[in-house]
């Protein structure tokens, strides 16, 4: 709580120096700044080797004392009361202006969403594939050793950019448990929702129609499933949509002299893009879409060269605001550069390749060599991805689940209402055409590079925002027409209900599975016990391996590691490399050399040859014995 107060206070003080001409832009900048400072402090503390509740609490207390001892900061924090009062009044007016049916839908939507998030967080441990392989494996290892550093594991994806993982660490490090780690998607969810609302207002939608657009997007199954699925894609969607909201807002003021009030959001834009690079590199492929939107909106506003003049105007603004403000901006941009480049610099130094474990191929040219796999930018990949997208369009191949296997996950609202609305808006609304062109360019940019796999639509969960905005435009046009308006509302309520229904249980988890997890005490709901994706073998760890023992494991590069840590990160684990021709004695020696008697292997996570070898060892009564399914132990 002290750290929450500290990070909220820092974000508040910084955001006051970045205020814009619109409250909603200030709100999204504030949410982003909180995400930013939480990540920054944890990364610094983690690199220093003090990633634990005690040092973080101490840092927070000292930080708060420093803030409170500086009288201008203290006075500003006292203004928080006035800001809250102003925000409360604004919310009151906003609520009064909403049509009655929108108020009713809002209450139902918020109640269902909040209850869903609380229930799923409380009832289930993390279970989504990528989380169990590398996202949360990083988090657990860092918390266990109090340090952000690489470690020995066959899962090479732990090397990928990890700003989200650092943010997720904040939700587990203080209680030293993963009980609430699923809440780590919430800041991104808020950022995305408010950004859509801001874009709606920039497209001249009334507030209530912008809010409908925001609710339509926030109901997208691919997004809601990922939010509580401890994945980093919602954060990318939030950052992209925040960037778009700022770009449109600033572009539309192109003819005004100087940057004045909108200098702050521009700083946040640069920080947001750098932060996104440190989260997932694919934001680079989305940037052309942002540039197109920026240029066309500023052209329509009367100055097509506006963005070329922005750097000069920014320098004038810095001169006008004085040296202390220049230092302040330098600190922010420097910190963002750090968060954007740290992971790549580390990989470059340690592995000789900034984007390790991947290589980079452009066309037929290998820019960065890596044996296992590469980011490929080629026309073949582009067309393969387009073909794959067409096969997934309409979500006909499978049910929508958090891994988005063979589906887009865009849901009832996007397909049912969104596509006709988008076609109409493309014909009738100029502003929408510009936004759509930007979205399309970002979409095609990702198609050029994203892997052609059944799961690749998870990179596109920001795209249904385009349909949501079209729905907002349609409502602002049709709601007043008696019969049509009623039909439209009915359809919106039905499609939203269907979207929310399918995500209540991840469209995947049976009630009997919930019952099993609920029968356990909250703090004992280990990921190893939830057999949605996790094989039964992992349960042996909880049952038979003492917490004080070191547990050996052998999985391949896409195997689950996270469940082995236990939910309170108490189990120390170590990777045991096994070669195909190792004898039983050599395997035992490899285990003992790493300080363990226990070895876990599991089908579909460990190579079949190794599993067969261990079974042979156990059958032929060597020092390796079968303790339980998949768990082997040395008896000497």
């Amino acid at each position: 709580m002290v750290n929450l107060a500290f990070t909220l206070a820092v974000a508040y003080l910084v955001s006051r120096r970045m205020r814009s001409s619109r409250v909603i832009i200030d709100v999204i900048v504030y949410i982003f700044l909180w995400i930013f400072f939480v990540t920054l402090q944890l990364l610094i503390v983690g690199l220093a080797g003090f990633l634990a509740a005690g040092p973080l609490g101490l840092l927070s207390v000292i930080g708060l004392m420093i803030i409170l001892s500086i009288s201008p900061f203290r006075r500003e924090l006292l203004l928080l009361k006035d800001d809250f009062a102003q925000l409360r009044d604004l919310l009151g007016c906003w609520w009064q202006e909403l049509p009655k049916w929108v108020r009713a839908v809002t209450v139902a939507f918020l109640a269902i969403t909040i209850l869903r998030v609380i229930f799923l967080t409380w009832a289930l441990p993390p279970f989504v594939w990528d989380s169990l392989t590398y996202h949360l494996t990083n988090v657990a290892q860092w918390i266990q050793v109090h340090r952000i550093a690489v470690f020995d594991t066959p899962v090479q994806r732990i090397f990928t950019a990890a700003n989200y993982e650092v943010l997720a660490t904040w939700f587990a490090v203080f209680i030293h448990h993963d009980a609430i780690i699923e809440l780590s998607g919430l800041p991104a969810y808020l950022l995305a929702g408010f950004s859509i609302y801001a874009i709606g207002l920039s497209l001249d939608l009334p507030a209530w129609a912008s809010w409908i657009a925001a609710m339509a997007y926030l109901s997208t199954p691919a997004l809601t499933l990922a939010i509580t699925g401890t994945k980093n894609d919602p954060l990318m969607a939030g950052l992209y949509l925040m960037s778009l909201a700022i770009v449109i807002h600033v572009s539309r003021r192109a003819l005004k002299p100087g940057l004045d009030d909108d200098f702050g959001p521009l700083i946040a834009l640069v920080m947001g893009l750098l932060y996104a690079i440190g989260t997932k590199a694919y934001i680079i492929h989305q940037i052309p879409g942002l540039v197109l939107t920026a240029v066309v909106f500023s052209f329509i506003a009367g100055d097509g060269w506006f963005w070329c003049r922005v750097p000069g105007m920014a320098l004038s603004e810095l001169r006008r605001r004085g040296s202390s403000y220049t230092i302040f901006v330098s600190f922010l941009i420097g910190s963002a550069l750090f968060l954007g480049s740290y992971w790549y610099m580390r990989n470059w130094i340690l592995m000789g390749n900034p984007v390790y474990p991947y290589g980079v191929e452009i066309g037929t040219i290998e820019v960065l060599e890596e044996r296992k796999s590469s980011f490929k930018l080629s026309p073949e990949r582009f067309f393969d991805n387009l073909k794959l997208f067409v096969s997934k369009f309409g979500d006909k191949q499978a049910r929508i689940t958090p891994d988005l296997s063979d589906t887009t996950g865009w849901g009832w609202i996007a397909y049912g209402m969104g596509i006709p609305a988008a076609i109409w808006a493309l014909i009738r609304r100029n502003n929408y055409r510009i936004v759509a062109a930007g979205f399309l360019l970002s979409f095609l940019g990702l198609m050029l590079s994203s892997p052609t796999s059944p799961w690749n639509m998870r990179y596109m969960i920001w795209f249904p925002a385009l349909f949501a905005l079209a729905i907002g435009l349609v409502f602002s046009w049709l709601d007043a027409i008696p019969k049509v308006g009623t039909l439209l509302r009915g359809l919106f309520i039905f499609t939203m209900s269907m979207d929310l229904l399918m995500v209540m249980n991840y469209n995947l988890v049976k009630v009997s599975t919930f019952n099993r997890m609920l029968s356990l005490p909250v703090l004992e709901r280990d990921a190893a016990l939830l057999h949605v994706h996790v094989p039964e073998e992992y349960e042996s760890v909880i049952e038979y391996v003492p917490v004080e023992a070191i547990l050996g494991y052998n999985v391949f590069e896409n195997g689950f590691v996270y469940p082995l840590f236990r939910s309170d990160f108490s189990q120390e684990i170590v990777y045991i490399p096994i070669a195909a021709d190792d004898s039983c004695e050599q395997i035992a020696q490899a285990m003992e050399a790493r300080g363990t008697r226990y070895l876990l292997v599991a089908p579909e996570h460990t190579p079949d040859g190794i599993i067969a070898k261990l079974r042979d060892c156990a059958r032929s009564e060597t020092v390796i014995r079968d303790r339980a399914g998949g768990l082997y132990v040395i008896k000497r």
Binding site: G416, M417, P420, A421, V474, T495, M498, L501, M502, N507
Partner: protein
């Protein structure tokens, strides 16, 4: 009513009918998955009133 209003009403009806058509197109197979969810919940909480799926199947 002005002719432009009529045209606008016609456009509105076409748009909403398009939405209805797309919703119906999207419904399969998602509606089945959603029914599974409802069935699973109903069967858990009201086992006496919701028959076993195995006993329903012959009637489908």
């Amino acid at each position: 009513m002005l002719s432009s209003d009529k045209a606008s009403h016609m456009e509105a009806y076409i748009l909403v009918l398009g939405m209805l058509a797309m919703t119906i197109w999207y419904a399969w197979p998602q509606i089945v998955y959603s029914l599974f969810i409802v069935y699973d919940i109903a069967r858990t909480f009201f086992p006496d009133f919701v028959p076993d799926a195995v006993r329903i199947l012959p009637y489908l």
